[in-house]
Symmetry: C2
Subunit: 214 residues, 2 copies
DNA sequence: TTGGCAGTGATTGTATCCAATGACAAGCGG
DNA sequence: CCGCTTGTCATTGGATACAATCACTGCCAA
């Protein structure tokens, strides 16, 4: 899943960071030479990095034409959410017994921080940590990588949505998070999986109600 | 998901074919120069092709060391099956209404061919066509690509399993396929999803009973 | 005015060459 | 005899140079 070459690795990591942080928006053109210059390298490692990011779905390559930051349309975003609805409950359910009390306390703290978060970026970061942590104890690294890819590819659109609806529109999310943590405390796999699926599904429907983001 | 460069594309396609067909077994060393020579190209397109295949999970790259055909251990294979259990029913359920009568007839014919198939390769090919066809009407190309990736990465181990148990051990599969097609005829999403999940799950358990394959 | 066409520039794709890393083996010392 | 060191070789990683492709622009003609 990852590059080998030292330079190519650095380029890929940096470009990934730029895309996930929002510094580079979907549709933005990526010129090989410009990246090479920024890293003081030739275009070879840059091209390898672009291949890696294309495979991750973060970059779109067109032969003899160029590279762009990948853009998702509404349908693709909804498709990603439907996949999340099936896979994240799996990861949660498989790992729920292995979750430690400390980890659940950490999850609860994250929920509280999210409730207090004023910056969109803060909320996004905490939400991501929260959800990936719930999936982290399944002992299924390929599944985790798949889920992380879903989060990466939709990062920009979650940011856009969160910015659009503001803090007021998010109380439902916090309630769902609270209920999920409560189910985790009881180690109730059925409830936890169902709540997580409902949470993602409702988020998908909310996103579908704002097609102007795309 | 795919390479751009013309040569790199050909190299990737050819190498993928070699891996899926079993011509190159998991763990086999891949030398860049040898591939380059075979295609009459330099190592540059070969390296790009290796990146693409690494992203697909068919090749493993190690920095400053080399490339090998990717190898899955039993745990990773079971993990893949668990993901299939969640995602393939999704694709089936989303597309079941769009399946035409002709397509269902085609599925039934595939089941009949599988029942008669004497060669392992024939069975493998038909089984793959059958399952990917059931997923093809969801209108979810990213999901389809994900599922196809699962099939690609486990192809070698399905071949090994089928060769091991022979034709006699496969009557359960045929019955499950028949029941699935019957549910499709009724356009019964609930039954069809459940049957497909059960089918994949039972296959996973059967695979887990033969760890000597790995 | 508009459509097409050719030329030009920028950008990507590929080949060749060189550097660097790692594996392996021979030799040295304990 | 065993273990460590060192040197050599095979292979990969990266840089430079060149070829091919594409998009854009300006011109010409209908």
């Amino acid at each position: 899943m990852q590059a080998d070459s030292l330079v190519g690795r650095r380029v890929a990591a940096s470009l990934r960071e730029a895309i996930l942080s929002g510094a580079m928006e979907p549709g933005a053109r990526i010129r090989q030479e410009e990246l090479a210059e920024r890293f003081g390298s030739s275009r070879i490692p840059v091209r390898e990095a672009l291949r890696v990011l294309e495979a991750e779905g973060l970059v779109r390559l067109v032969a003899n034409s160029g590279a762009w930051v990948a853009k998702l349309d509404l349908a693709e975003c909804l498709e990603t959410y439907k996949m999340r609805e099936r896979l994240e409950p799996l990861a949660l359910g498989e790992g729920i017994q292995a979750l430690t009390g400390e980890e659940i306390a950490r999850l609860e703290a994250l929920v509280a921080e999210m409730e207090e978060a004023e910056e969109v970026e803060t909320f996004l970061r905490l939400d991501r940590v929260f959800h990936l942590l719930t999936c982290s104890r399944a002992g299924m690294p390929m599944l985790e990588a798949t889920i992380r890819g879903f989060w990466d590819r939709t990062q920009h659109y979650r940011r856009a949505y969160a910015s659009l609806v503001g803090r007021e529109g998010q109380w439902v999310i916090h309630h769902e998070h609270r209920l999920l943590v409560e189910a985790l405390r009881r180690r109730d796999r059925i409830d936890a999986e169902a709540l997580l699926a409902l949470h993602i599904r409702r988020t998908r429907l909310a996103l579908a109600a704002h097609p102007e983001i795309f």
